[in-house]
């Protein structure tokens, strides 16, 4: 590989570095660690040190993201399907090497480290779809036939993840695919067909594909005041915690719902109620605004991208963040049933943190290279 485009790297970094993206993500990460400290300060089972581990992962993820941002994203475009294939293989490895935890195998263990391939798969799917759309630059409306290939690209990892089973991640994969498709122009007729098929598949899945606990979660969501000592405990107590925050919150480390152990899974599924209880409506608005800013910024980066690969990459990463945030906040506030979806940079977990940071690295990459085609600055750059 020729490295001459690395000339003037520092200068380009200074000029083209996306400070908004960086500051938004950094703010989320810092607040996330602080919140994790409070959330796990009362947890039993050795979670109390999780925030330190989370810092390690953030630092590690930051370094990897920096490296990823530094290499022109078109290199990834070339490797697109290779990366995708490695992701699918690692998903298959889960079934061979994985160990079952609470009825599903999601982890691969390498030495004393473990990771969730399904997390990284989200990014690999985005890359693969980006490459596909990049290689297939249609300008007229797409027909159903045009969508078959990207649908297969999305369906393979989704099916594997469903088999683990990990409904939350599968849902995210589908929604990321849909979000990226929404970027393209599809014929109205095809769109109607797609809609019809989607409804049928969703209905069938709703009726026959859900497991016992998933049905229970949906029942719980539809009847929020029933069985609050049983399956509705978590959403009920989470809602109380959020409400208990009031306007200004109870103060850091002073949320009684968290301090007195009424919240469960506060390091994974429910970090937001901890935050909302401690910082109130004002803090919650600030946090939601940060997520909204991150998502909208990804769209902005996509809009300014100079090619399809970059645009789809930014939109894909943005949709990963968006759907995670919306689902997690939605379930924490009772708007949506419980699906095990993490809150980006708030939930504890190496794979999740790495995925988000690497994704942001991609967006940063696209953002920094948005000026390539500019005739004015091209001479300065190269």
């Amino acid at each position: 590989m020729r490295l001459h485009h690395d000339e003037g790297l520092m200068g380009r970094v200074r000029e083209h570095f996306d400070w908004t993206l960086f500051i938004t993500v950094a703010a989320l990460a810092v607040v996330g660690v602080i919140n994790l400290y409070s959330a796990t300060s009362v947890a039993r089972g050795g979670h109390a040190e999780d925030y330190i581990q989370q810092i390690y992962w953030l630092v590690g993820g930051g370094i990897i993201a920096t490296v990823i941002a530094a290499i022109d994203y078109r290199h990834y475009e070339r490797l697109g399907y290779v990366l995708y294939a490695s992701g699918v293989i690692s998903l298959l490895l889960v079934f061979i090497l994985g160990r079952e935890i609470r009825g599903s195998s999601r982890w691969i263990y390498i030495g004393s480290y473990s990771f969730q391939p399904s997390e990284f798969m989200k990014l690999f799917l985005v890359i693969a779809l980006a490459k596909y759309l990049h290689d297939d630059p249609k300008s007229e409306g797409r027909t159903l036939r045009d969508l078959v290939a990207p649908a297969i690209i999305a369906a393979i990892p989704t099916a594997l993840v469903l088999l683990q089973p990990d409904l939350g991640t599968a849902l995210i994969l589908v929604l990321v695919f849909v979000s990226i498709c929404a970027l393209t122009r599809v014929q109205t007729k095809s769109l109607l067909w797609l809609g019809a098929v989607g409804v049928i598949v969703a209905t069938a899945f709703w009726s026959y594909g859900l497991r016992g606990y998933q049905n229970e979660r949906i029942t719980a969501w539809l009847n929020p005041n029933e069985n609050i000592l049983g399956y509705n405990w978590d959403p009920h107590q989470a809602r109380i915690a959020v409400g208990n925050g009031g306007w200004l919150g109870q103060g850091f480390m002073r949320g009684s719902q968290n301090q007195f152990l009424f919240l469960h899974e506060q390091h994974s599924d429910f970090p937001f109620p901890v935050f909302a209880e401690e910082w109130g409506f004002v803090g919650s608005v600030a946090l939601v605004t940060l997520y909204a800013l991150l998502v909208l910024w990804c769209l902005r980066v996509a809009a300014s991208a100079k090619d399809r690969f970059g645009a789809v990459l930014a939109v894909g990463v943005g949709s990963v963040v968006f759907w995670h945030a919306v689902f997690n906040l939605g379930m924490a506030t009772g708007l949506l049933p419980i699906v095990g979806v993490t809150l980006p940079l708030f939930s504890y977990g190496g794979s999740s943190v790495m995925t988000v940071l690497v994704g942001v690295g991609f967006v940063m990459n696209v953002s920094m290279r948005r000026f390539y085609a500019s005739p004015v600055r091209a001479s300065q750059l190269f």
Binding site: H4, Q237, G243, K306
Partner: protein
């Protein structure tokens, strides 16, 4: 250079989409913000209340049940702490819980404390296995809501104090072991006066369901108070019989509460940070139960127990004739209320009950008021009063007793051949023949009316145990029962307290008290006053008169003279067994029980049950009566031989106790009045 990598692709297709996507994302986030506004800004206060209720638990502060004391302040019933050992399954045996993994490694669990506890409590291998199985069953799952954490298992009840000390000493090694102090009712005199005092028991679910109907928990505090004024909860002790039950509302006291901070697993949190979270009022002090001061004299009860020792079954009532206050209520055989009140564990209670209910002598029956017996000749004074009323029979009229008398085709027998007797001798010597003639002249209904006016055949209203009304039959009663075939024999039997006449010892004692005090029928009372736990009198119960019996003083005098003769005339039935140092008047009775032996009964029991009831109903001192003493020895045989000595001992002890307490000399009998009755005083 740009061409080295890949050709730039046209992004025109995407251009118009970004705005829509941004709009959709913004709407999604705005919906979330709206929801947050609803939860936090609009409903924040309500959720704060719920969150507060989550961590505040009203911890019940138990109250202590009132103490029952006798007339002289001796404690008859109080409470003592009993120490129960309970375990939290998941904490005493973490190894029973499912293994959890973290990053693939099993999470290390605390060591079991259970073997150490089993060692300290000296559980036998079988008990250990049983509890092992229960712990494992509880910890099949260890979710936060599993019985593994929330359902303590009771291992031992009422452990000795040195075991408690040992458990405290090894507290650090005994994770999950709780020693729970439970107040247990304690009766220091054990079985003495057991029927009268009663016992306490765990409130039964049916009674509880009445005061705590379905949905009780959701009622307001005022409604709860109205439904359940005494605040019963499952597992509470409640008076089951006797004074414990009748005076429950006084003895019980009122629970208090204290707000405590708890976490989701029900563990109490302490420290200033936690205490700041408690909103005022933080505490309602419990009100201890009221103490009762009885009119009962424990020393006298003990003397009665001693006097009744030779006899298997019976009842004694001692009542102050001047007030109607009961000095002793004694029923035999008895039971130890300590066994029934749960202090020694549920198994002990069950065992005691099964033993008591299997006993043919009916130890659970309060024979002073719940059992009705033929009074035998103790009925005669009332028949005599009926005869004297309106001068139906001239007291100086004589009847000749030849030992039997024939009415119609039946022969009615007397105990002896008494020869010519007047009313006075007839009572003193208990001549049935005289009373047969008397009955024939007086008629059933007149005798019944007089007997009833003295409270026989009706409940006294003491109300500490279910009272039997007894029965004073009348012609109309027989008409209903025998469909018009009234026979004069019914009247004859009734006059001597046989046949269908039954009374309770309590009724008889109250009636004799009325004879002794000039005709005032008192309401029997057993509680003298209600006191606070520091001894201040809250409520006193003055004597209550049921009625003034409409009987001429002259008639009463004749009868009391005759009753004096029963004991003091050499021909009197009680004379041989009298205590010459005592001034007693009374009437013996030997009542046939009408018992017909059943084949399935063992011969020993059968021969016992075929014996007559021995009665002696009396008052003393005869010349200025203070107490009436009624003694019933069930299946004891002859009244004069069996019941009189018991009564004499009781009166003797009464006099001795009075002498000690009041510092007065033993009231020596006035020797010269031997032939004169008490009514013969100037």
């Amino acid at each position: 250079m740009t061409n080295f990598l890949v050709p730039r692709s046209d992004v025109g297709e995407f251009r118009r989409r970004y705005r829509w996507m941004a709009l959709a994302a913004s709407i999604a986030f705005l919906i979330i913000l709206g929801r947050l506004f609803q939860l936090q800004a609009l409903d924040g206060a309500a959720y704060s209340t719920i969150a507060h209720e989550n961590i505040i638990r009203r911890m019940v502060l138990s109250t202590t049940r009132g103490v029952i004391r006798d007339a002289n302040g001796k404690v008859l019933a109080s409470s003592r702490p009993s120490y129960d050992v309970e375990i939290v399954p998941g904490r005493v045996m973490p190894s029973a819980r499912p293994v959890h993994y973290r990053n693939g490694q099993p999470i290390v669990r605390d060591p079991d404390s259970w073997p150490r506890l089993a060692e300290i409590l000296r559980l036998n291998p079988e008990e250990r296995r049983t509890f092992d199985a229960r712990i494992r069953a509880a910890c099949v799952s260890d979710d936060d809501k599993s019985p593994c954490w929330h359902t303590p298992i009771l291992v031992r009840e009422d452990v000795p104090r040195d075991t408690v000390a040992e458990l405290k000493q090894h507290h650090d090694e005994l994770a999950g072991v709780d020693v729970v102090g439970v107040p247990v009712r304690f009766y220091p005199y054990k079985s003495l006066g057991a029927h009268m005092l009663g016992y306490v028991a765990e409130v039964d679910p049916e009674a509880l369901a009445k005061v705590r109907p379905h949905g009780y928990e959701d009622l307001s505090r005022e409604e709860q108070q109205r439904n359940n004024p005494l605040g019963y909860e499952a597992g509470d002790t409640v008076g089951a019989t006797g004074i414990e039950r009748a005076w429950e509302s006084y003895l019980r006291g009122q629970r208090g509460w204290e707000k405590r901070v708890v976490d989701a697993r029900g563990r109490y949190r302490t420290g200033p940070a936690a205490e700041d979270l408690v909103d005022p009022p933080a505490r309602l002090d419990p009100i201890p139960g009221r103490d009762l001061r009885l009119s009962i004299d424990a020393d006298l009860e003990q003397a009665i127990d001693k006097a009744m020792r030779p006899h298997a079954a019976g009842a004694v009532v001692v009542v102050d004739v001047r007030t109607g206050r009961l000095l002793a209520l004694y029923s035999k055989p008895d039971f130890d209320p300590n066994d029934l009140s749960g202090g020694a564990g549920h198994a002990r209670v069950r065992e005691a009950f099964s033993r008591l209910y299997a006993d043919p002598l009916r130890p659970m029956l309060d024979k002073t008021m719940s059992g009705a017996f033929q009074p035998g000749s103790t009925m005669k004074p009332f028949s005599a009063l009926a005869a004297l009323e309106d001068h139906v029979v001239d007291p100086d009229h004589t009847e000749k007793c030849e030992g039997y008398v024939v009415f119609g085709r039946r022969i009615f027998r007397c105990s002896h051949v008494h020869g010519s007797v007047r009313l006075r001798e007839a009572i003193a010597r208990s001549c049935n023949v005289y009373f047969f003639h008397l009955a024939e002249a007086v008629g059933m209904d007149r005798i019944a009316r007089v007997a009833q006016s003295f409270g026989l055949g009706e409940k006294t209203g003491l109300g500490i145990n279910p009272e039997s009304p007894g029965r004073i039959p009348t012609r109309s009663w027989y008409a209903l029962r025998y469909r018009g075939q009234f026979r004069v024999g019914f009247t004859l039997n009734m006059a001597i307290g046989e046949g269908d006449v039954t009374v309770t010892p309590l009724q008889l004692a109250m009636a004799y008290a009325a004879i002794a005090n000039g005709g005032t029928l008192y309401q029997p009372q057993v509680v003298r006053s209600v006191e606070t736990s520091d001894g201040a009198v809250v409520q006193e119960f003055p004597p209550r008169t049921r009625r003034q019996v409409p009987v001429p003083a002259e008639d009463l005098r004749r009868v009391t003279d005759a009753l004096f003769d029963v004991v003091n005339d050499p021909n009197g039935t009680a004379y041989p067994a009298r205590d010459p140092s005592l001034d007693v008047a009374g009437k013996t009775g030997t009542a046939q029980t009408g018992y017909v032996a059943k084949k399935e009964e063992e011969p020993k029991l059968s021969s016992f049950l075929s014996q007559n009831h021995a009665w002696f109903s009396s008052f003393a001192p005869a010349h200025s009566p203070e107490v009436a003493v009624t003694v019933l020895v069930e299946h004891g045989g002859s009244g004069p031989e069996v019941a009189v000595p018991v009564a004499m001992q009781i009166v003797h002890e009464y006099e001795r106790l009075q002498a000690v307490r009041l510092g007065r000399p033993m009231s020596a009998k006035v020797p010269t009045v031997k032939a004169k009755g008490p009514g013969g005083k100037p």
